[in-house]
């Protein structure tokens, strides 16, 4: 009976949020029109930047699989390792194992030298190497390719093999394996994340602060509704809004700007919701400190700034270095963005992303748990 009552209270809180939204036309306009349109339009305007490459691959673990076991392939390995771009080139992987490991976080690319590599060079033919990249790390393919190309300029496979001059890069051709993505497709993940984080954080943290300042939060607290029901009710309301927002952004991206999306729609919506619920948890956590609406806006801008810098918005998190990579590793949004990228760009099923999902789930529980405790233990912060 008590559970049923809690459920009814959750529904009452959620319906109440919708009723308030319905009355507040400017909130509808900002939440469901201005924010999605603004970011998606910025994405459209930024199409000129597609195809941009990254140059930092030195810290990425990359497998080197030598199936030729020749002098030429050995020199190729030495050339790559001596360059500053491939200091984490790992030997000893079997090709099948390397391909399985790709995308699970162990290695980000695999350079395969096939059998007959030296023989082709000796026959004055183009030697071929194959580079497999992690489809879910869209910045990596361009970075690996451009750095191999640069290193091959110093490659001399054997003093007996003369460079023919009409073959580029010392007579070696690189075959890239794996999906290649436009900057626009990558930008869509950024746009969706921005829209979700920007709107969701304000709706939860700003909403709680407003309720605290106007005294409606205190009114809920003197009624029999539990804190858990208030939090779940507000979460469900915002989940509904985020589903709407996701469809608006995708609709604009696909029908107005011609983006191509490989993802299953359900996986995509769920990926967006992971980021949204994570942000809601953080919103509750921030509001539990009793901050005002103005402080919420300031914190929101810092959050966005942090996400821009450290969570793989523009520079893939694998390509970050030093302290920025450490921050990216502990920032749960980075894993959410990773899930979203893999879902949008290559349609990777969520079942294959258990590591990222676990981190998101733990972070959500942590945010909600701490927020719940703080809201319970220090009620006076939210009572004006």
């Amino acid at each position: 009976m008590s559970r049923l009552k809690d459920f009814s209270n959750v529904f009452a809180v959620m319906s109440n949020e919708f009723r308030i939204l319905k009355r507040n036309r400017s909130a509808i306009l900002i939440s469901l029109v201005v924010i999605p349109f603004f970011f998606t339009a910025s994405l459209g305007a930024g199409r000129g930047g597609e195809g941009e490459t990254y140059s930092v691959t030195a810290t990425l673990p990359i497998a080197f699989i030598d199936n030729d076991l020749s002098e030429a392939s050995g020199r190729l390995y030495e050339t790559l390792v001596r360059s500053d771009d491939f200091s984490m080139l790992i030997q000893g992987y079997r090709e099948e194992t390397a391909l399985e490991t790709l995308g699970k976080g162990g290695i980000y690319a695999a350079i395969v030298v096939p059998q007959g590599f030296q023989q082709r060079l000796l026959n004055n033919e183009t030697g071929i190497i194959i580079v497999h990249v992690d489809d879910g790390s869209p910045g990596v393919d361009d970075a690996v390719l451009s750095n191999i190309e640069a290193s091959l300029k110093n490659f001399n496979p054997n003093p007996r093999i003369q460079q023919t001059g009409n073959i580029e890069f010392a007579g070696v051709e690189i075959l890239m394996k794996g999906a290649s993505f436009s900057g626009f497709a990558i930008g869509l993940t950024i746009t969706l994340t921005m829209v979700v984080v920007f709107a969701t954080f304000y709706e939860i943290a700003g909403g709680m602060s407003r309720e605290s300042e106007t005294g409606t939060y205190a009114h809920l607290l003197v009624s029999p509704v539990s804190l858990g029901s208030i939090m779940i009710g507000k979460t469900l309301y915002d989940v509904c809004l985020n589903i709407m927002r996701t469809f608006i952004v995708l609709g604009l991206a696909v029908y107005v700007y011609g983006a191509s999306i490989h993802a299953n729609l359900l996986s995509l919506v769920l990926s967006t919701l992971f980021i949204a619920i994570l942000t809601m948890g953080f919103g509750f956590l921030v509001s539990s400190f009793g901050v005002g609406v103005r402080a919420v806006v300031i914190i929101e801008f810092f959050l966005i700034l942090f996400l821009f810098a450290f969570s793989g918005f523009f520079i893939d998190k694998e390509l970050l270095r030093g302290i920025s990579q450490t921050i990216a590793t502990i920032l749960p949004w980075a894993y959410g963005i990773d899930i979203l990228k893999r879902t949008i760009l290559i349609g990777q099923p969520l079942m294959n992303l258990t590591y990222q999902l676990q981190i998101i789930a733990i972070s959500i529980m942590l945010f909600y748990g701490v927020a719940y405790l703080l809201l319970r233990l220090s009620r006076e912060r939210l009572i004006k």
Partner: protein, 326 residues
């Protein structure tokens, strides 16, 4: 339900080093209209907020309708209604929508909620105003809407914290009458105010709170008596002779007679004041004295309050301290 609707034991609330409520002990009986009187910042609202489970006490506890505010807060909330400055309605919703929301949260069956809503709206003359957004209502109507919402679940105890502040005199009067009727129906009311005249008009019992301490509890009359036993009869009568003065002094029940031409002051016990006034007037008229005016001056609750809290200087010092804290 227990005989005492509210039973408070050593209730204390500290905010850092500041003690807002200091070891308050109090019992309020069922159906009583209890007035909590004190200046701004005295600790009235903090006390009410602890009783309605909004704030966690630092020490002590209280039983509300038989339930402990610490261990049984959910049960307490089902049985109370709160009208206070820090507790508001949703301004973006209509009065009716607010009432529907809270009747759902209080688990009222639809039909009962609808009937009760209609009765309360009619009682407060809301009519078409119930369909207006709360944010569009004047402060008086907003306060009435708050009271209706606090009553929607038929609470056993209702906290009315500074409810008449900002109300026009007619609305304040109507609200006082309404509250009195509520008590007559068995509802226990805690009425906090800093207006000294209000508790005298409606409250059965008054508690004076100052600097977080409950310094005196009693009926309004008991509180007045605690600072001045007698009422003072003041008569303006010039050129009074000593013989007449002696006759007045010999009237039974008169404690003290002073004469400072033209003012004659006679202190007398409250119960016999009418008879004494008649006797003094008769002596004066018989002696041919001229009477310009007659006044009976009674001690007021305000005087009692000032006296109990340490005089006007002490209140000024406290108010200054409160202002600085704010």
């Amino acid at each position: 339900m227990s005989e005492n609707a509210i039973s408070i034991k050593e209730l204390t609330k500290n905010f850092g080093n500041f003690t807002a409520v200091d070891s308050v002990n109090l019992d309020i009986q069922e159906g009583q209209l209890f007035g909590l009187l004190g200046p701004n910042g005295a600790g009235k609202t903090t006390l009410v907020r602890m009783l309605c489970t909004l704030l966690e006490p630092s020490a002590g506890t209280a039983n509300i309708a038989g339930y402990d505010i610490r261990s049984n807060a959910a049960e307490v909330r089902k049985r109370i209604g709160v009208v206070s400055d820090g507790v508001s309605l949703y301004r973006d919703l209509t009065v009716e929508e607010n009432l529907k929301l809270f009747s759902t949260l209080y688990d009222l069956p639809n039909r009962i909620a609808k009937d009760r809503m209609q009765n309360l709206l009619d009682m407060f003359n809301f009519k078409e105003k119930s369909k207006r957004l709360v944010g569009e209502l004047s402060s008086g109507w907003m306060k009435k809407a708050m009271i209706i919402t606090a009553l929607i679940h038929d609470p056993e105890i209702i906290f009315l914290d500074e409810v008449t502040t900002g109300l026009d005199p007619q609305s304040a009067l109507a609200l006082r009458e309404f509250t009195r009727n509520l008590c007559d129906e068995g509802v226990t009311v805690i009425w906090t105010t800093h207006y000294m005249t209000e508790p005298e008009m409606i409250c059965d019992t008054v508690g004076i709170i100052f600097e977080g301490r409950l310094i005196q509890i009693g009926t309004p009359k008991q509180l007045r008596r605690s600072v001045a036993e007698q009422s003072v009869l003041e008569i303006e009568t010039p050129n009074l002779d000593n013989t007449t003065l002696k006759k007045i002094e010999n009237i039974g029940n008169i404690c003290k007679v002073t004469y400072d031409d033209p003012t004659l002051k006679a202190s007398c016990v409250d119960e016999g004041e009418t008879e004494i006034e008649e006797s003094v007037t008769k002596i004066l008229l018989d002696s041919g004295a001229r009477i310009r005016s007659i006044n009976t001056k009674e001690p007021t609750l305000e005087e009692a309050f000032i006296s109990l809290t340490g005089g006007e200087e002490e209140i000024d010092r406290f108010m200054e301290k409160s202002r600085r804290k704010a």
